[in-house]
């Protein structure tokens, strides 16, 4: 099973590295090996863009997507043997869909001179990632058209993910807001169209600027879009995010490996334990923990239940946003049933934090399959009914078909993953392409659609719920016997059964529980097919009880960036349909 789990097979990665070595002979500073098997190449910033362009356009396979772009503050990191001297490292994570492989490009920078060229012309979605990296680390991207803060307020002092920036309120002065400061903050919030790249008038009409959000019924959280309107036609729509930012990545640097798990639940707060999965898998990879089959299957089962819950909420709010009031109330019936099952297994409903490093918290309760059996009988006919109610409805079709469509290439350009990508006709599901946690053992189909419009995005998710039911059924019927936690010493909290018999296990238990596990120095990226697209955790350990750098790549962040692209020329009600069809939660965007 371990073989099937995605490790980029060494042949493909050495073939790729060979191409890079030949073309960039003498320019590669180092090749780093990481335990996830993703080839990692260090280059100087002068060569970075050329290398990225080469990977994007010329290598076999091409790397169509800029999957992630972030940085690491390396100044206090230990255990970086073999890596070039660097105070700040910019990390480009590229993904190839044609070759089903990844590559990482790292660029070392010194604190005194934090800049490198932008890559927006290669991948348009680099725009927000570069702004975020500027916001968090103070790294400048030359040639970027609007390198403003994106997540933190414009008046923020310092760059939050630099190590010298405090992580807790107790490390800072008590917060106060004087009248002058308030006036400054208010002034900074004032909408100035020019700063957003908007003109105030065209040749024959004056535009209206409409501030949609951050508090608006249909923006699904605290999210603001500045609209430039000609009548009700959208000339431009610029998303403004950051209202839900909690510094989840910064928290990862102060919590222990174990105590960070509940924080992950709140990233995509509709995904529940599914958020735990990439995180614990990443830690397990670094620690070399092999998870027992029963734990894997429990993880899959719970994750699929949360997928259904999340999709049901999407489905209901999608219908509601095109004006259909009732479906969401019916859909909450199933959601409630599933939460009841989750509660009886985990003890909590939306954010159980149930996965542990090395397994899950506890075994399934007695009679766990009874309610699942009921759900499997209850739900399919209701799903059919929803189809008749929503998907077959003429007005829903007229409101959503042909609205907000994009094709596969555009989707890859903008970093779109998940149902939004499959709705364009690309059959690419992480669970199939790079099976994790035992997904290779399940029979299920990957639904796709062809038009890539709002209607198709919804249709794909509706079918995914049926597939998830299939997976849950297989979990129920074939639940393996055995342990739900690994015997590995870094499993947290460790199993106790040997602890009373030998001193080694007892000490291990004591340390793991009091300090938390010490994870060996490594770097790893683990991704899963989450409810909204590919969610991935990039963890850097320097051999301590906490993570040195926790990078959370969320699907929603990428998806929102595409809103202006797909909504220009449509009307305000279409924008609402587009927003609804994207299926995002702001906690997943801002982190």
């Amino acid at each position: 099973m371990q073989v099937a789990e995605h490790n980029m097979d060494s042949q493909a990665s050495s073939a790729l590295l060979q191409q890079v070595r030949e073309r960039f002979a003498g320019k590669i500073l180092a090749e780093q090996s990481t335990c996830d098997g993703i080839p990692t190449v260090w280059v100087d910033r002068a060569d970075a863009k050329a290398l990225l362009r080469y990977l994007h356009e010329e290598t076999t396979p091409h790397f169509e997507m800029l999957f992630d772009l972030t940085a690491i503050d390396e100044r206090v990191r230990v255990h970086r043997d073999g890596q070039p001297a660097s105070e700040f490292t910019v990390v480009y994570h590229l993904m190839s869909f044609s070759g089903n492989c990844d590559v990482r490009v790292k660029v070392p920078l010194q604190d005194a001179d934090l800049q490198l060229p932008t890559v927006i012309e290669l991948w348009p979605n680099a725009n927000w990632y570069e702004r975020e990296t500027w916001d968090m680390f103070g790294i400048k991207f030359e040639g970027h058209p609007n390198l403003y803060r994106i997540v933190l307020p414009p008046t923020w002092k310092g760059h939050a993910l630099r190590k010298e920036h405090p992580a807790r309120a107790t490390e800072m002065e008590p917060f106060s807001l004087s009248d002058e400061q308030e006036a400054i903050e208010q002034e900074a919030l004032l909408f100035k169209p020019e700063e957003w790249g908007m003109k105030r008038q065209s040749d024959n009409s004056e535009f209206m600027f409409l501030n949609l959000g951050p508090n608006h019924p249909s923006v699904h959280g605290a999210f603001r879009i500045a609209l430039q309107l000609d009548g009700e036609i959208l000339v431009d729509a610029v998303p403004d995010i950051g209202y839900h930012h909690r510094g989840a990545e910064k928290m990862g640097e102060r919590q222990s490996w174990h105590t960070y798990i509940p924080y992950t639940d709140r990233i995509d707060y509709l995904g529940g334990v599914m958020n735990n999965l990439p995180y614990v898998m990443a830690v397990e990879k670094m620690a070399g923990i092999e998870v027992p089959a029963r734990a894997k299957t429990i993880r899959v089962m719970l994750a699929e239940m949360f997928r259904i819950c999340s999709h049901l909420l999407f489905y209901g709010t999608f219908a509601q946003d095109v004006g259909q009031l009732s479906p969401i109330f019916y859909m909450f019936v199933e959601r409630e049933r599933i939460f009841n099952i989750i509660e009886s297994i985990c003890g909590a409903r939306m954010h159980p934090g149930w996965f542990r490093i090395g397994g899950v918290a506890q075994d399934l309760p007695a009679g766990w399959d009874k309610r699942i059996k009921e759900l499997l009988e209850f739900m399919p006919p209701r799903l059919d009914e929803y189809d008749r109610m929503v998907m077959d409805n003429g007005i829903v079709k007229r409101r959503t078909q042909g609205v907000g469509s994009y094709n596969t290439n555009e989707a890859l350009d903008w970093g779109v993953t998940g149902a939004g990508l499959r709705a364009t006709g690309l059959e690419w599901d992480f669970r199939k392409q790079r099976p994790y946690s035992g997904y290779e053992n399940f029979e299920f189909d990957v639904p796709i659609a062809v038009n890539g419009d709002c209607y198709d995005r919804c249709a794909v998710r509706v079918e995914e719920m049926r597939q998830s039911l299939r997976i849950i059924k297989q979990c129920m019927e074939n639940m393996p016997a055995g342990e739900v936690k690994s015997d590995h010493p870094l499993t947290t909290p460790p199993r106790r059964k040997e602890g009373l018999h030998d001193i080694e296990t007892l000490i291990n238990h004591f340390l793991s529980v009091s300090w938390g596990p010490v994870v060996p120095p490594e770097e790893v990226t683990m991704s899963i097919e989450a409810t909204k697209g590919i969610n991935s955790y990039y963890l850097v350990s320097d051999g301590s009880t906490t993570s040195y750098r926790t990078r959370i790549r969320t699907p929603s962040f990428a998806h929102l960036q595409m809103i202006p692209e797909i909504s220009r020329g449509f009307m305000v009600p279409d924008l609402i349909a587009i927003i609804a069809s994207i299926d995002f939660v702001m906690a997943d965007v801002d982190r």
Binding site: S326, I395, M571, D574, I576
Partner: protein, 318 residues
């Protein structure tokens, strides 16, 4: 033209009943929606939650009634009063039972249409005077929608007027003693029903106040009792449209003799009210331009054809 105005007692009775019914609809709608949506609805205050209306009233009367400093005060205050006034005035010509009604006007149908047109001012003034962009969008939409749908509304009624030979609502009811006009004028009925939903801007035609798109549309800035007047005005509109459908197409107070006529009127009107609430529970909202083109490209020709056919048949049978 004779205008006999009913006694002050009748006026008071009808006024009280109509406003009372409109207020009760707050509870009725929430309970019915709850029933259709697999949930309970308000059931805590009093038996079956009936006193919810009282609680809502107390709340709405004691809430801060805020007029935004940037609003145009005069029209901001005037707008909600207009909608209440014109709809209540329309009830003056509605015959509820053989000897129950306020005025028997020879121009009853025209009067109702005229009042409905004035109602558009309320929504437009409310939106424009608020000086809020959402309200502005809402009132723009409302103006376009109400003006367009009034056209079909008027034309769809002409079939009934031609059949009965009168603009007097009471005479229209009397002319339906043998056969309700819903049979010969089925197309007219359907168009009037659709136009009626659009006129009272309820879902699926609540485009001027589509909350998912433009918050609350034209009444975004309203609060307290001024908002309450828009709110009750909407329910009054619902009662009015249901009453008119009953009068024009379903034989008004006519019904089997075991119940008094006014009960038959109430039962029919309530059935339509419930139908409008069901529409809200069932149907999504079309886009604003889709609604307009549906009106002008489909309903208008259809209502004209209906009128032509009706006219031809009447001429033929004379």
């Amino acid at each position: 033209m004779t205008l006999e105005i009913g006694s002050a007692l009748t006026i008071g009775l009808i006024l009280g009943t109509v406003i009372g019914v409109a207020a009760m609809l707050i509870w009725v709608e929430r309970r019915l929606l709850g029933f259709w949506q697999d949930r309970l609805g308000p059931n805590r205050v009093g038996p079956f939650g009936l006193f919810q209306v009282v609680a809502d009233m107390i709340k709405i009367f004691t809430k801060e009634d805020w007029t935004p400093p940037f609003a145009d005060k005069f029209s901001f205050v005037l707008a909600p009063a207009i909608i209440m006034t014109v709809i209540l005035l329309s009830f003056a010509v509605v015959p509820f039972a053989p000897n129950l009604g306020i005025v028997d006007s020879n121009i009853g149908v025209l009067f109702v249409l005229a009042m409905a047109s004035l109602g558009a001012y309320s929504v437009m003034l409310g939106g424009l005077s608020s000086d809020n962009k959402y309200a502005l969008l809402g009132s723009l939409r409302a103006a376009a929608q109400m003006v367009s749908y009034e056209v079909f509304m008027g034309i769809s009624l002409l079939g009934v007027v031609a059949l009965s030979g009168s603009f007097n609502l009471r005479e229209i009811v009397l002319a339906q003693e043998d056969m309700w006009y819903v049979l010969p004028q089925f197309v007219g009925f359907v168009i009037f029903l659709i136009a009626g939903v659009a006129e009272s801007h309820r879902l699926p035609f609540d485009i001027p106040e589509a909350e998912q798109e433009i918050c609350a549309g034209y009444h975004t800035e309203y609060s307290g009792m001024k908002f309450g007047m828009f709110f009750v005005g909407e329910y009054l509109g619902l009662v009015l449209i249901s009453s008119l459908i009953t009068v024009l197409f379903f034989g008004g107070w006519y019904g089997p003799a075991f119940l008094p006529p006014v009960f038959w009127f109430a039962i029919k009107a309530f059935a339509f009210i419930a139908f409008f609430i069901l529409l809200r529970a069932a149907i999504p909202r079309p886009r604003y331009d889709q609604l307009m083109s549906y009106g002008w490209l489909f309903l208008l020709p259809l209502s004209l054809i209906n009128l032509l056919v009706t006219g031809a048949i009447i001429l033929n049978s004379q």
